[in-house]
Symmetry: C3
């Protein structure tokens, strides 16, 4: 689809995310999810055509990573920069937050000239999503009371419940791979636990996957060993969603059952819900000894399930023996990053490039979440970028294409814009 | 006042801060202080009108935080970004500075493409201001000797003596709250010590307040327990300034006396001067044991003055029982951030939003300090931003207002600008 | 030389570095080195004329410092910002890289919207250059397989073998000081070891100097105590290069012999090759005890050579007693940064400003490496910046000069550009 048609499709959506935080995919309507997804795709296409996508001359995007991160950090930085925002990291170690400051105060103090706040808080079960809601409420309060000149939008960069930038990037990749969202209807996807020699991995990826893919009519299978349950409310939600979207959701007890005939497999380790609850209590209590014991016990528990391993043999049982392997990366690769892990070297290597392409959507998904949050008129904004293209990278040998925008966007613009615009600020000397 | 009138008022000031570091408010004339204050207000108004305030296509703003910071760090980052500068943090931990490098060398090495250096150095009594002067002298030397293509300006983000970005933001807030600087004449402000269960808080805030508010004809009262003196020279300066500005300055021995009839109260903890001197010696000697002992002793000393606490009762003694409560934040709130602190929860909550608004001026005050330092023609610069407005955030549904600038600025521009400017760099393809 | 003539000289070079990583100077032709050097000089001249040098509306420059750095970090940040890129630091401590991620995966994950990756990796002998090659191969793979929309360029910010941003900045400074590259032919330069009370300093600076200066017909002398050899292959390369460039290369055993009659002296400490090899093994093994012993032994070895010290007396033996003293900074200055070091206070002070000017070229050299890597048509790009000047810093009282570009560049542009360009994105309201 060319950019003009992509824009037209966006105009047809009955959706607005203007001023709405993106915390959980299941809080959004299908059209709202499509709005993000299609905006991400269009931004990617325009990027490749060397169009600048700056919406902001100045402005901050604040990142708050309460857990380590490489790819999400870079994706957030890339998305912010793509739209013209400068990243300012809220490093709680360097700040005065430890001095007893409340969330609502900090939220305001970092937001005077801020457009977007991205938060990763996935360590404490029951805490991450709650924290993001608290920040949001504090921003509402600050804006309503005249403290903040704008109410910054929040993008959930992973919480204890959902990981929407990951799951939406995964969905973009599935759409690219299978050709359309419609083609995903009835596709069998297996979200399964996998063995890893580490513990404490968040539940947000599997929850995000079952919480999103059940919206689009897919046949979703969840599998994990006994005791590795996800948050029950999310599982129930997946069931309800599958029913209403015309897909299905089932749980099985072995990797083998889940993989059998699957067209997509997503084997990934996570910690048992109860271990995460216990861990949260110990982290809060600062009980280092207790944490060590818990880790030991959890690793011993994990070790009973080393057979939850994706190798060539189990892949052979999938649809046509060539299910699409997915992973949020980094994977624990047997013989590469650990002696025994989630996936064999052969299987990972076969799907390495596809997993990289899966990851490549993340900056654009985040940028789309930012854009749809900040812009009242999304198609009009995109149309403006397309009709008045600015080179992203100076190129003396070619100019970026000018896209004649879709009628709706055009109408909006002509009503309000002067016929002739004078150039501003940038200037050349007399010739 | 609308932006045009604000600009006209700036044009009338007999002041220039071009190339002058902003280290201490008392080094500046009243008109120079007004220049910063009014520029900050105008920048805030133009920001709210969605005008881009970029003065710099490229350039660095270096931050050097020798103490922890959240709000000052974000304010500096916001101000830098607002004018188009990228922040580069001089993190002395990550650098080679520990390897015996001299101040003058580092100052030059970080400045080749740098416009502004913001320094926070408030830990060592007698050191922070001296360090900023040393950096300034090194930059002078580097510029005069042809090493640096420009001499970066220095903004004091808090030193051992003054905290001008805080006190100027406080003044902006007082001006907004009371309507004008003139309305501040004769207003009673109580700058008082308050109990806190921590020690080692810098003296720069109370010093900054008595050093600035005595310039504007206010009736300034300073109160603290015996032994919690400020630097004597600053107190003497406040006395002299009050006399010449038509205000007054007095010291009393109790919070009660200070609050009695006050229209503004600023109760805040700080360390005794002598404890800070001792602490400086111990920090320099790396005497961890000595520091622990000093902390214990200082906290015990503090504990004698728990009655220096702002609650509803003492607030009732203020002017009409509703003095404006101010704080640089974060405050030590009794029952919230500590068992017993500077202020009761009720009083703080009543004035929470006002303290946030007080803080909201800081980014604009810093931006004004930067702008007035870098621009030879401040009104002309502001007029250019207003006459040739660029959208700060792309808005397809509205355009930013064009302000017909004040005559003086206009005359300056037409004399030097080409009648017709060709668009530069940014370009569109053939249609 | 004025900018127009500088541009014409660049057009005459038979060189392109488009898409080529800058890892080692000796991998580049003399014309390629001149392309970087002359582009750096032109960028410096245009910067001083207040021209914006932004080539990028958006884009990331990733820095990966595997060793501490102040001046290289700031030079990289300055260069990135100068061209319009935002720096994103890959801080391996904060990332998930320790979790067993492979180089090729990380390289791709940080590169989706990245133009340039700058890497400093000088700690492990045999590792730094190899790592940079690995990153390059991973980027090639990612780009060729459609993961990356562009293949970011790599700039070596110091490896175990070469330090090209330093040596090229040094060469720029020598050219400025002596008037031209031709004037450097036959100039005697002494690259010598110097005593320092620290150990483990990389070999890349002396190797970079002998590897670069032998390309330009200089008479290069290398001197160090027994046991302080450089990597043998680089010494052999210097010999071969000197022969073919019409210069010379010799090794002597004392500082005195090297300084005798030298027109340029570059006395600097480094670790013995074998100590660095041993250190690399110990670092890899995480052998803290072994490292301490090695340090003790190495420092004792260093201490035998305290007479390798640059003072007034040995400077008197140089050409006309006034050889140009060079240093990459920071120098170990006797009585200033250490009791006994590389250079006396008097000698260093005399040449302090020259060493600062030497350093001042680094941001422009890095920017030139970036620009030549990203732009297929370097003279055309520079011509565009010159013909359509944009103010770097808003200046209401003067406009930047318009340079009528050299014919070649002009022809290129008129063929492809529309006669009339519509202003894009930035706009003003109706008047």
């Amino acid at each position: 689809m060319n950019p003009i048609d992509m824009l037209k499709a966006i105009e047809k959506l009955n959706a607005s995310l203007y001023g709405k935080d993106f915390l959980l995919t299941w809080d959004k309507s299908v059209d709202e999810l499509k709005l993000v997804l299609q905006t991400a795709e269009l931004l990617k296409a325009l990027y490749e055509d060397n169009l600048s996508l700056r919406l902001f001359e100045t402005g901050l995007a604040v990142s708050n990573f309460r857990d380590n991160s490489t790819r999400t950090r870079f994706s957030f930085a890339s998305a912010s920069n793509l739209l013209g925002l400068a990243v300012q990291d809220l490093d709680e170690g360097k700040s005065q937050i430890a001095h007893g400051e409340t969330v609502r105060e900090t939220a305001n103090m970092i937001s005077f000239l801020t457009q977007i706040i991205g938060i990763r808080d996935d360590m404490y079960l029951g805490a991450g999503h709650t924290y993001q809601l608290e920040v949001g409420a504090a921003l509402d309060d600050g804006f309503n009371q005249g403290v903040l000149p704008q109410r910054p939008g929040i993008v959930n960069l992973q919480c204890d419940i959902d990981h929407p930038t990951q799951s939406m990037a995964d969905l973009c990749w599935l759409k690219e791979h299978f050709g359309s969202l419609d083609n995903l209807r009835g596709k069998k996807i297996a979200m399964t636990w996998a063995y890893s020699p580490s513990y404490g991995k968040p539940l947000s990826v599997p929850q995000g996957i079952i919480g999103l893919m059940t919206r689009f009519g897919m046949d979703v299978t969840l599998a994990h060993p006994t005791g590795y349950d996800l948050i029950p409310e999310v599982v129930e939600l997946a069931e309800r969603q599958a029913m209403s979207s015309g897909g299905s959701f089932r749980q099985v007890n072995t990797m083998e059952e889940a993989f059998e005939g699957a067209e997509i497999v997503y084997p990934k380790s996570w910690a048992p819900y109860k271990v995460m609850q216990k861990r949260t209590d110990l982290l809060r209590a600062g009980d280092a000894e207790g944490l060590k014991k818990l880790e030991k016990k959890a690793l011993a528990q994990n070790a009973q399930f080393k057979n939850w391993h994706t190798d060539e043999k189990i892949m052979a049982s999938t649809h046509r023996a060539e299910a699409l392997y997915m992973h949020c990366l980094p994977a624990d690769i047997t013989g590469v990053s650990c002696p025994a892990g989630e996936v064999s070297e052969g299987v990972f290597e076969k799907y390495r490039i596809p997993t990289y392409k899966e990851a490549s959507y993340k900056p654009f998904v985040i940028a789309a979440m930012m854009l749809t949050n900040r812009m009242a008129d999304v198609p009009g904004t995109l149309a403006e970028l397309m009709e008045y293209p600015v080179e992203r990278v100076l190129n003396v040998n070619a100019l970026p294409p000018v896209y004649k925008a879709a009628p709706k966007a055009k109408a909006k613009k002509t009503a309000k814009k002067p016929a002739k615009k004078a150039p501003a600020k940038k200037k050349t000397a007399k010739k």
